[in-house]
Symmetry: C2
Subunit: 109 residues, 2 copies
DNA sequence: CCTATTCATCGTAATATTGCAATATATAAT
DNA sequence: ATTATATATTGCAATATTACGATGAATAGG
């Protein structure tokens, strides 16, 4: 009980849901917003910017990195994060693929 | 502890994450896949189709309905679900709006 | 070597999500 | 009215997520 039954669904459904879940937290969106906006790629400024504890930010960054949505680069004692452009374009395609499968117009709703 | 700090984020970030979260479960994607594919709008066939318990399907349908991604129509003893076309197009726009904010090319990653 | 800085990780508490059996509700058919 | 069918809701148990303090690891600068 309580465990997502991944075995019941397609690879695609499982993969897509995993990505969508990463976008499913406002802190991670805030991080992406910041990275999209900032010229330079920002590291720990996110901590003051967002108002969450450093450990929490680090955790969210990790999830974004696991999903390959962002990349991190060590620069001395700090880490420089930025959006993974290739993945970003890929995600755009993947989401469009979903939303372009328009619902068949029907008469019952 | 453990509560998402919605107060720290923008309305937009909170709203978007809420929608993304709905797409963040494979069962809900499977339901959408089925509704997108089926000519008629399907009701409880989802239960046999997906292999989850009826109560579980019902719960996922509720979340999709709360997010206004699908609509339900009572037809006798059964309920006919289908995708909310207007919302669907709106979601397409909202997601594109995000992905069209291309990352500024940078030199550190 | 010592210290400060930056970030990651660990441990843990609070809360949310998932899944299901059991039960409730509502309509249809007899 | 009674029964059958379809869906929703309730009440849990299992698991996942979120947040944070404390601690660890790595580097820069003295």
């Amino acid at each position: 009980m309580g465990v997502t039954r991944s075995d019941l669904f397609t690879e695609k459904q499982n993969e897509f849901s995993k990505i969508a879940k990463v976008f499913g937290h406002p802190a991670r969106l805030a991080i992406l917003d910041y990275l999209l906006k900032s010229q330079t790629c920002i590291c720990g400024d996110l901590v003051e910017e967002l108002g969450l504890a450093q450990a929490t930010i680090s955790q969210h960054l990790k999830e974004l990195k696991n999903a390959e949505i962002i990349k991190g680069n060590i620069e001395g004692t700090s880490v420089c994060y930025c959006i993974n452009e290739e993945k970003w374009y890929e995600l755009k395609l993947v989401f469009n693929e979903l939303f372009d499968r328009y619902p068949s117009s029907n008469d019952c709703c």
